[in-house]
Symmetry: D2
Subunit: 213 residues, 4 copies
Amino acid sequence: MKLLLTAFDPFGGEKVNPALEAVKLVADQLDGISVIKVEVPTVFNKSIDTVESAVRKHQPQVVLCIGQAGGRFDVTPERVAINVNDARIPDNEGNQPVDRPIFEDGEPAYFSTLPIKAMVEEMRKAGVPSSVSNTAGTFVCNHLMYGVMYHLAKSHPGVRGGFIHVPFIPNQVIGRPNTPSLALGDIVTALEASIRAIGKNLTDTEVTGGRES
Amino acid sequence: MKLLLTAFDPFGGEKVNPALEAVKLVADQLDGISVIKVEVPTVFNKSIDTVESAVRKHQPQVVLCIGQAGGRFDVTPERVAINVNDARIPDNEGNQPVDRPIFEDGEPAYFSTLPIKAMVEEMRKAGVPSSVSNTAGTFVCNHLMYGVMYHLAKSHPGVRGGFIHVPFIPNQVIGRPNTPSLALGDIVTALEASIRAIGKNLTDTEVTGGRES
Amino acid sequence: MKLLLTAFDPFGGEKVNPALEAVKLVADQLDGISVIKVEVPTVFNKSIDTVESAVRKHQPQVVLCIGQAGGRFDVTPERVAINVNDARIPDNEGNQPVDRPIFEDGEPAYFSTLPIKAMVEEMRKAGVPSSVSNTAGTFVCNHLMYGVMYHLAKSHPGVRGGFIHVPFIPNQVIGRPNTPSLALGDIVTALEASIRAIGKNLTDTEVTGGRES
Amino acid sequence: MKLLLTAFDPFGGEKVNPALEAVKLVADQLDGISVIKVEVPTVFNKSIDTVESAVRKHQPQVVLCIGQAGGRFDVTPERVAINVNDARIPDNEGNQPVDRPIFEDGEPAYFSTLPIKAMVEEMRKAGVPSSVSNTAGTFVCNHLMYGVMYHLAKSHPGVRGGFIHVPFIPNQVIGRPNTPSLALGDIVTALEASIRAIGKNLTDTEVTGGRES
């Protein structure tokens, strides 16, 4: 099995992106899964193009994109991406779209086709706090997840895809009161546990991972 | 203009639902808008049926549903509802569906057709903290918003609809450390400001209300 | 009984101080207690001098000082003030002492001589979330509480004193994500409940109000 | 230089105490400092007796006590301990004192005699988020810090002492939403950085570490 693992470069004034730092440290081979890594610019459209090109080139069975979610407490597989760009801050090339669809001919939303509950379970077994997230925001992370799922649905039948958000690492929260972080090593452990769960589970386990709001 | 305003009964062990208490206090006439109020059971399917019946009976131009989001800091119009039920806790009749679609023939998601940015602006002008939310959760609130938008799309062309989540009121957070609340009066003010914004804005204002994650 | 009720002017870039706005609205007579109000500058030393002068002038039986604690979720009577000034930001006249004692000949700390547990109970009965706080910080609020208790201990035997911190009001947190607030009316209710509790309880009730950390 | 490093056993239903796990992993020799480790029962009075006996036996120049502060985001040297026991939960032998002084003949409070600002700086340089705390709570942690400082002041002139609170580790927050944690390795790094700072700084650096409330 071949898995394409992508991560964004730093954005929003941060010096590092914990997603990228963690992806660099993920093993290249995991339980018989070959992990191919791609760095993605935090830029609308270019991010989707970068991953779409890599999908065409490497023909993976799974696409797993990783992004930073500053302020989150745990590692969160995303359940769904929605068809909207609404940027609170500019991307790395100054684009700041407001309330624009990502693809005019796309679905209102695409659900992850990865086993997000099984991934959460495996991450927790590995000792890392994790939970399902029901929003990937409306910036480049949601944009990329949406774009990847759009292309997989249109042009790559059978290829599974999804997104995981990871918290800040400790270095990023020094001097920032009341901001949670997770060690880089724990994020790597979580990503590797997720990849193993993806390898083992073609369908998801039926355990609740919902929230009231 | 006729606006159907709905609110859930208490759930999850709470004695009151601030959404319901606030809706009771909203004026029946606001800037030429007639407000018709309906209480909704916090029960899968029954909640949708209750509102759908009221829509048929009252033929409103707008449907605005209100629900409690314990733990939130401000009043949050929802941007989108997704096609999934995933209940962490049972509803008021013991139903606890996990990862089931709401309507097999529905869209993956429905976006609010209310002017959510204009509503946020109007609530803030009225002195109440407010922001757009990108997830209504996966419990009965998301379920109802999804079901209402599904029926409006299928059977009530031109009728606008959407959902607002409101925080706990102070009484509910006594003895609960670090849990935010808003006064009932402020929630009423926010709902009335939202209704006014709906009356004034057929299309939304283009200001950012996005989040990175 | 005569009670001196003080509140600071706005500081830290805020346009209002919820403590001051609330104090203005507290009744002048409450259960036979005459409430005398004094506005206090958010300035090291001057704040203490202002209250000390008012104590000499009005000869109250109780001194209750109120201050803003932005970021807190509830109304919090302070248990103790400590003998240190350590300012993260300048006061309203630009003073920013670091790790300096308030009074060289003072105790390391003074405990509130008000019935803080009874005050919490009375505020909760009145519907407002409240809890005991074990730190008043190291800025002008702690400074004033310390200074008042120092002077009461030295020169005004039998006069009781203490401090209450109140959260932001909703207006202050508009546009500030994840920041709690309480309505001004609820803060007024809480302060009046506290004053009543002070009038009724010469000694405190023995209920736990502690924290592990 | 000899430094006595103490940590509590698990309490409050937890299976581990991150303070104890971290202390076990701290190096026994650090920059010429011999580190002597003692496990302390989370029990009123017994905890103080345990450390006081160890001080008499080992005659250290520094006593540094470590405890768990579930819910905190970073590693926090305590500034002060106050003369009160007020237990929200029972200790490990069922004691639950409410509003009782720790020592009748003790000061109202004792300040840490360790260089807490220098410790924070050194921890941050080592990549771990850290800040000064102005309250150690009112449970066994504050109790022990107070008791140690009391005995040092009375009977061990020249011996410096203080306390550091550490957050939960990731394992403890699995399934606990919105609860921060720090990796055990980062806590160990922070404690070793603190010990180095203690070795290097007889007096504290004058940088602000204060809070408004």
